[in-house]
């Protein structure tokens, strides 16, 4: 999303934005790489449909609205309006980012979902966590312990060159926990992600979701960043 603008600093106390050609690119809902019922019985078709068509779509719609309001506020130089819109941008933009990653993190069993990582990512996991199972246990524990809504991530720290399990609250993207963190896998632990099927038993959802995790995608992202 490109914002073209020139910044003229008129004094060391004020920054003037000269609005030149500003392109407002709206975000759109990415399509799912598989059908809604393709992840059954791990995640029901009903949940996938609601999750994609309602929840993710709402984040996209509200992000676009917030962005339009932001552009207007910026054009008018309305600083308090700009600042006031930050939480809407973070929440809805974050929701869009996180869910876009999430759809790629999942894969139907008959297309390789659940197949454990091999090669470089597999070795890195063994190095940083001891074993693949240790990583799964840790992610499940952190996901289960998360109070409220949020995400549990398998992150790669580009700087320290190691893997890390992180959690973020609400729709905060992974970068809010560290600018050098790259998301390999994210698991949505908002109640809407599992409630219709698993009710309050979040741990059951977490234990089962590994059957449809797309480790190939995680491996690709990892190898690209680890160079």
């Amino acid at each position: 999303m490109a914002l073209l603008r020139s910044i003229a600093i008129s004094s060391n106390k004020t920054i003037t934005l000269a609005p030149s050609a500003r392109a407002l690119t709206t975000t759109t809902l990415p399509p799912l790489p598989y059908s809604y019922d393709a992840l059954e019985p791990v995640i029901s078709g009903e949940i996938m449909m609601l999750h994609h068509q309602k929840h993710h779509q709402t984040y996209v719609t509200n992000y676009n609205s917030a962005l339009e309001l932001l552009h207007t506020a910026m054009d008018k130089g309305d600083v308090s309006a700009v600042v006031g819109l930050q939480s809407a941008v973070k929440f809805n933009g974050g929701g869009h980012i996180n869910h876009s990653i999430f759809w790629k993190n999942l894969r139907p069993v008959n297309a390789g979902g659940g197949e454990p990582p091999h090669k470089k990512l597999g070795w890195q996991i063994d190095t940083d966590f001891g074993s693949f199972n240790a990583l799964i246990s840790k992610m499940n524990a952190e996901g289960a312990a998360l109070q409220g809504s949020g995400w549990v991530w398998l992150a790669f720290d580009k700087e320290l060159k190691r893997l890390k399990v992180e959690t973020t609250a609400n729709q905060d993207p992974l970068v809010t926990k560290g600018a050098t963190l790259v998301p390999l896998l994210g698991i949505d632990v908002w109640e809407h992600a599992y409630y219709l099927q698993y009710k309050n038993v979040k741990l059951e959802y977490l234990k089962n979701i590994w059957k449809v995790i797309n480790w190939e995608y995680a491996g690709e992202v990892y190898e690209k960043e680890a160079q």
Binding site: S87, G148, L196
Partner: protein, 197 residues
């Protein structure tokens, strides 16, 4: 609100908080506090201690169940209605404000009708996660759980249907009246009618 939702919300979610709170209380320094005192103390002015989440959730859920009744909704009467009109203009304005606040929450939270002690008026506010007006020292009058588990089975993502049904069919104006009466022991809402001798 379906039976299934109440069974799971009360029997599992609420119950889990009660059990975890009891576990904390075995070793907590706050053992012996009333629940309300414990919520305020463990909130710790914004840096909540480990007991806050469960103590506040237990309190809020107790408050929530009692904010509803079978065949609830419709209109409040008498002094409660007068106070609402005084502080919101019209009853419809109150409902609109309550609904708007409920839908404005990012993530899990609650929406409250509460009595501001210092300003001596009713107001509506949304809160995040397990926070309630207790933490800032005001008096809750109605509490509505806006966490997804509270409505998802019955309404999926349609939060406004959930809030409207709560206001139109569930909210217990009788509880509100009792809570307002109790609040008047702490907040002077009007001038006393002193008879001329």
């Amino acid at each position: 609100m379906s039976k299934r939702t109440v069974e799971i919300h009360w029997g599992k979610h609420h119950n889990e908080h009660v059990e975890r709170l009891n576990k904390h209380l075995k070793t907590s320094a706050f053992y012996g506090h009333t629940l309300e005192e414990m919520v305020k103390a463990t909130y710790n002015n914004g840096s909540p201690l480990v007991e806050f989440n469960d103590s506040s959730s237990v309190w809020s859920h107790d408050f929530f169940w009692e904010s509803m009744q079978p065949n609830g909704g419709s209109m409040p009467k008498g002094g409660v209605l007068d106070q609402i009109k005084k502080d919101f203009g019209t009853f419809t304005n109150f409902k609109d404000e309550f609904t708007f606040a409920a839908l404005s929450i990012f993530g899990p939270g609650w929406v409250w009708l509460y009595l501001k002690k210092n300003e001596r008026k009713l107001a509506v506010a949304p809160t995040q996660n397990a926070i309630s007006p207790l933490v800032w020292g005001d008096i809750p009058i109605i509490g509505l759980d806006m966490w997804e588990h509270a409505y998802y089975l019955d309404y999926k993502d349609d939060r406004s249907a959930y809030v409207n049904n709560f206001l139109d069919h569930l909210v217990s104006w009788h509880s509100v009246m009792v809570r307002m009466m109790r609040a008047e022991a702490f907040v002077n809402l009007g001038e006393p009618k002193i008879p001329v001798a």
